[in-house]
Structures are given as C-alpha cells and as structure tokens.
C-alpha cells in the first residue's frame, strides 16, 4: 500500500541533482511552482515540460520507477482533464461525447491544466526524491533564519519537522506490523461492508497512538539526558555551502524563467 507511492520517499543515487545544495533546490522548486501558472500557450508549456523532464533525467532515477510512483496521482490528473472537458464551454463544438458537447476550448484548457498539474507534482516530488529529509529541514531552517528577528521559533519549527519526518517511516512500519498482527486475529481490513471496515480501524489506531506517545516520551527523555536545550548557540554537524554547481543551476534556471516570459503570449 505504502510502497506504490513515491512522494516523500528519498531515492539515493549519485547525480548532480542529488549533490545540489538543498536550499538551491527548494528555492528553484518554489519559484517553479509559481511560474508554472504563467505559462499560457503551447510553446511556454513545452518549454516547462522540457525543463521538468530534463531535471528528472538528471536525477538518474529510472523513468519507469518515477511514472509508477506517480500512479496514484494519475487518477487526479485524468479526473481534472475530464472535468474540464465537460464543464468548460469555450470555442467551437468539436464533437459530442456521451451526450455532452465537447468544445475546442475545453480540450485545450483541460490539457493545459492537467499538464500543469503533472509538472507540479513531478517537479515537487523531485525535491524529496533527491534530498534527504534532514537536508530539507536544515535548508528550511537556514532559509527561515531571518524570521528569528520577529521572534519566530525557527529552530523549534525545524526540529519539529525533522522529528516528524524521521518518524514517518517508523510509524508506517508500526502500522504495517500492527495491522498484520490484527489481521492474524481475524480483522478484515480489505473486504466487508464499509461500517465494519471503519470499525476495523480501531484495533489499528489505538495501539498506534499508544506507541507514538510512548516514543515521543522516550525521545524527549533521551534528548534531555543528552543535554538538549534548544537552538541558541548550538553548532551544526552539517554545514550547508553554496558552491559553483549551485550558481550554474541558478543561471540555467534563470534562463528557463526568461525563456518562459519570452515564449508566453
């Protein structure tokens, strides 16, 4: 169940994208999420698609694995497309499908929106695929550092994030273990009426919460025992550094942005 979804999963590989500074990647992807909405004609969409697919190729992750991992999202993309196809009424009537008139505008818009959706998901998942959760939190902490001036608890936020990210796989494993134990005691999670299936979640959730609270308590205790006292004056084990390949990436990305604004109508 969890194995088919790759969003949020880190895939180790030796690629340029993996080696980029996480801050570079976050800033670029953040900007990309915004500029995707500026594309408004075929050349500009093509330009962004080329960039996204190029970036995906650079990660050295097998394309087949990428596409398979995005499987659960395909449904949403197709759904968006169909929704636009039947709801939008612009341009000429092209044909009739299942009794509904299909307009040319609808076809174009549906295609554009689904493509935009696909690009967004692809590029954002590249971040987590090529960056370890620890790197991401480190990057967010440094990027948000200026907010400290207005008393925003940046370090605490980053710590919370890294702890939750750290425990996602643990909790997933735990869920799997407990659901297997309960399945062995005759709980049926997969078939049966909806009401029974909802009830079947109780034997799963209660032990999960119990263990999550226990873990939290143990973690807090272990941190205190090792003298943790917050971010003030704390040095870092991993120092982030922007190097030449990050500058090159920025330059290339700037060309992508510039190209987009040239191409858009």
């Amino acid at each position: 169940m969890a194995s088919s979804l790759i969003i949020g999963q880190y895939v180790p590989a030796d690629s340029v994208v993996h080696r980029l500074d996480p801050r570079t990647k976050i800033m670029m992807i953040f900007t990309f999420v915004i500029i995707v909405f500026f594309a408004n004609n075929a050349p500009s969409y093509l330009w962004l698609t080329v960039f996204s697919l190029g970036a995906a190729t650079l990660t050295k992750i097998k394309p087949r694995f990428l596409l398979k991992g995005l499987k659960p999202v395909w449904f949403l993309i197709v759904f968006t497309f169909l929704l636009h196809l039947f709801v939008t009424r612009e341009g000429d009537v092209l044909t009739t499908l299942l009794g509904f008139p299909v307009y040319t505008g609808a076809l174009i818009q549906g295609f554009q929106i689904s493509l935009r959706f696909f690009l967004l998901i692809l590029v954002t998942s590249l971040l987590t695929l090529t960056t370890t959760p620890i790197e991401i939190t480190d990057a967010i902490e440094t990027l948000l550092h200026p907010l400290k001036k207005i008393k925003f608890p940046v370090h605490e936020l980053a710590l919370m994030m890294s702890i939750s990210l750290r425990f996602i796989p643990t909790l997933m494993q735990e869920t799997e273990k407990i659901s297997k134990a309960q399945a062995s005691r005759g709980v049926d999670f997969k078939t049966g009426p909806l009401k029974e299936r909802i009830q079947a979640v109780v034997p799963l959730l209660v032990p999960l919460f119990v263990s999550a609270f226990k873990r939290a308590e143990e973690l807090a205790m272990a941190m205190e025992a090792r003298g943790y006292r917050g971010g003030e004056g704390r040095t870092r084990l991993r120092e982030l550094a922007i190097v030449s390949r990050d500058y090159i990436a920025f330059c290339l990305f700037f060309i992508v942005i510039a190209g987009l604004f040239v191409l858009r109508g």
């Binding site: 895939v11 297997k180 005691r185 119990v210």
Partner: protein, 287 residues
Amino acid sequence: MDISFKQVSHTYQVNSPFEYHALKSLDFDIKSGQFVAIVGHTGSGKSTLIQHLNGLLKPTSGEVVIGDYRLKADEKTANIKGLREKVGVVFQYPEHQLFEETIEKDIAFGPKNFGASDETIQARIPKILEAVNLDVALLNRSPFDLSGGQMRRVAIAGVLAMEPDVLVLDEPTAGLDPRGQQEIMDMFYKLHHEKGLTTILVTHSMEDALKYADHVIILEQGKKYLEGKPEDIFVQQARLKQVQLDVPEEIQFLMDLEKRLGMTIHYEKQSVDDLADTIKHRLGGGQ
C-alpha cells in the same frame, strides 16, 4: 496440520530500486504435531517466512501448502480467514497489539472475529488464563495498567483463545527477564504436548531451539542452510560458525569437557541436572 513449502521465493518491491529477495526457493516439510525451531540471523528471512504461514504474504513463486489451504502467486486463496483461525501467530512484542478497554475483551477479540459465540469464549477464558498464569481478578482491568511481562501474557492469551491447530511464535520471549522467558517457553511446550499443536518457533536462542524443538531449520540469506534434528545440527560447530551462529551452551560445555578432560558424553537432550550427575559419576564421585 501438515505444512509444506515448495520452492517458495518471496521478493519485496519487485522492479524498484528497493527490490529485495527475502526468500529464495525454500523447500521444507513440517509434519503435524512437530515442534520446529527456525533459526537464523536478522535479515535471514524468518519474519517473511512466518507471514507465509497464515497468508499475510503470498509467495512470489512456488507454493505453500498448509493442511487444505494452498498459497500460490496470482491465485486467490479461498477462505483465508479460515486459515488464520487455524494458524495462530504470536508476533514479536505481541503486547503492541493490545487495544481493548479490558483484558477480557482483548482476549475475546480474536475468537469473536472468527465467529465464536460468547458462551464458548467465556468457557475458554478461565482455562487460558490458567495456562498463561494470569489472575482471573485482572479480567476487568485495562491491559495498559499491566507490567510488560503481564501484557505479553495477555497478548499470548488473545492468540491462544482462537484455539489454533498451528502455533507460530516469533521470538516470544524477547525482552523478558530470564525467569519470564523460561516460564513462557515452558508454557508453550506444555501446550504443544497437551493440545497436540504443531508449533513453529522462531528464535535467536540456540539453547531454546535445542531444548524444545524436535526439528531445526537454519536460514541464511533467504535460503535453507541446514535442517535436521537439533542434536545433530548443533554439534556441527564449524558449519554453524560459518553463518555466525553459536553452539548451544550445553553442547559447548560438553565439547570443552572432551577437549580438556578427554571425557566423551554423547548429548541426547539430557537436562542440565542429568548431565551434572553423569559427569559426577564419571569423575568417580559416585555417591
């Protein structure tokens, strides 16, 4: 129930960078009523094997036959719930599965799922509590008020309450104190004989495997490494060492005895006390 594995392989996450071959054409038979120990290192495939015994996992190739049930890749197994009723699995740290408000409800949870009537369950509970050595007065308490060892017993009672024919134990004594370990193992041994169960014990303890099992299977990287009677398996020190397994304490002791004093005692599952007597006798102590 007879259990047989025929060329069973299991691969996790096929066709992904995380592809992992946990079992590789595993072949073995377990006769009804046997006490089998499965020994191997972490990552040798023990947990994957266990999950094939009640249909939580299916082989990627090959087939598993348990009584009348058959597990095969790409083949839907009929009545998998029936299989799970017959094969009770006590997972590692089973106390993590407790969730009900009272101990009584938690023990009744399994049998209820398999459709046992309330009267049947009520009739079973006192016997089971006695078997796992828990006080009847605890029945209405919350399982979360108990000590770790007691919680373990409640969880085990929850599996026993299903009255399975096959009992699968995944390191049932991990994390207990030595006395608790001994008590729990003795309890399973007693149940095994009294109810004529087929018991499959996964363990790290060579001593337990030697003491309780009448058949041992050693796994190494998803393959069967050795199989046979414990007293034959555990004397093969060199072969065990190859897979970083130790010889059980008793046998190690007898080997040292032979090396240092030239005294040969053949091990045939004598108790420690009997061995001590034999040695005393041989040394000429006699009385």
